[in-house]
Amino acid sequence: MREEIIVSGRNNPLIDPQLHVWHWEIPTYLFLGGLAAGLMFFAALYTIRNKENEYKTAVRIAPMLAPIALVLGLIALFLDLHHKLYFWRLYTTIRLESPMSWGAWTLMVVTPISIIWTAMHIKDLFPKWNWKFDVIEELMEFFHKQKRTLAWIMLISSAILGIYTGILFSAFNARPLWNTSILGPLFLASGLSAGAAVVIWMSKNHSERKRFAQLDLMIIGIELFLIIHMFMGFLASTQVQIDAANLFLGGEYTAPFWIFVVFLGMIVPAILEGMELKGFKIPVAIPVVLVLFGSVMLRFLIANAGQASRWLY
């Protein structure tokens, strides 16, 4: 038997007895960032593929939620900082080795693009909208001419944003549960799934809803595949990663993860969407809310369980 204890009475707040420096702010931001990435990704994708008129909601209306999600996410991120007055230090350096630096600069690109995209399509939502200043009208015309270029930038930057939300965690080898590169694609897939769900919710066009239900089904399939592979990877790895996986395979996070994230957040909405595609009438809000709920829970559980997994003692 082996027992290791700190006998000098260390009790550092947020560190002891178990690390818990990241509370609701980080997972909330990761969800909102992922959602925004999903919305912007589909808008860009269907603009590039010239399907703008077929999927109007996805290209024009739904991305208007992206700047709102991003701003709320940024507020959450700001609240997480402990030395708030120095937040501008993020923008005096570029540190390629730091995922957080990448994230800060990605947000610096993505947020303005999401605002521009919203401004470009605001007349689709409010037909009487008037910019009042000619300069802005001219600027909007310019952006409309450059729409394809903008869509390409948006496609790439939103994919980076989506992946980065996972890389932020996976770059920490001190927390074995996070230290898997599958988190990047998994969080991207989860963000895309949330984005697709919101499009299904907002769209009134039957064929668009059908297309996004198909997309969402496919992404949920990919997510399940990634989750299985994540655990396979953990169980074939070192003892610390086996212990980390066991937090979800019998440990304290087992029930919330498999019930809320996998069953309610993925399997049930997948079945409901599948039934709808087969012609059953199902209130669209149910699978959509479940997908969003699963997406939120995934971030919260991974954030908390990751901080509970460790190398020491």
Binding site: M1, P13, L19, V21, L81, Y86, P99, A174, R310, W311
Partner: protein
């Protein structure tokens, strides 16, 4: 120059004097610790074995905390000591989650704080507070690049280990066993 510390687990009695000395010297806020003592009990009675370790930041050569810092506040200073520049730290806590040794904490003023190897003392030719105060003289501090330094000498003579070497951090805290 590469500063390092060697701690003799055979001589340490776990009195926590190093902890108090550090808190006093560095004005560590009440309720926080930059160093701490770990007691390891191995085996079953009556075959018991005990190890005592005075631990702190490992001032790693490949520091995950320096790597993940988005502003460059966490940096390598003189002799490879890992320090935090207060006015560059935004308190994002990335370094805290990146440290496998849990050696960092958020200072009540908002920035991240940790052991500095008492560089302010070392620069003036003194030993770090914890080393200077140790009643059993179980700690050795010095320059690894200097073969005559106390720490180089003791590491040549004795068997030692580092903590979690498999995390790839190349720690500069050696425990004599």
């Amino acid at each position: 120059m590469r500063y390092a510390m060697a701690i003799d687990t055979k001589k340490c009695v776990g009195c926590s004097d190093c902890v108090v000395a550090c808190q006093t010297e560095n004005d560590v806020p009440i309720g926080y610790c930059r160093d701490w003592v770990v007691e390891v009990m191995d085996g079953t009675y009556p075959q018991l074995e005990m190890e005592l370790r005075s631990e702190r930041c490992n001032h790693c050569e490949n520091s995950p905390c320096v790597r993940c810092c988005p502003t460059g506040a966490s940096h390598y200073s003189e002799g490879g000591a890992v320090l935090v520049t207060k006015n560059e730290c935004i308190g994002c806590s990335a370094c805290i989650t990146s440290c496998p040794y849990d050696a960092r904490f958020v200072h009540p003023e908002g920035y991240v704080d940790k052991c500095t190897f008492c560089l302010h003392r070392v620069k003036n030719g003194m030993q770090p507070a914890c080393v200077a105060v140790c009643p059993t003289k179980c700690m050795y501090f010095g320059d690894l690049d200097d073969p005559r330094s106390e720490v180089s000498q003791v590491l040549k003579k004795r068997k030692y280990k580092t903590l979690i070497p498999e995390a790839g951090t190349k720690p500069h805290l050696y425990f004599l066993i």
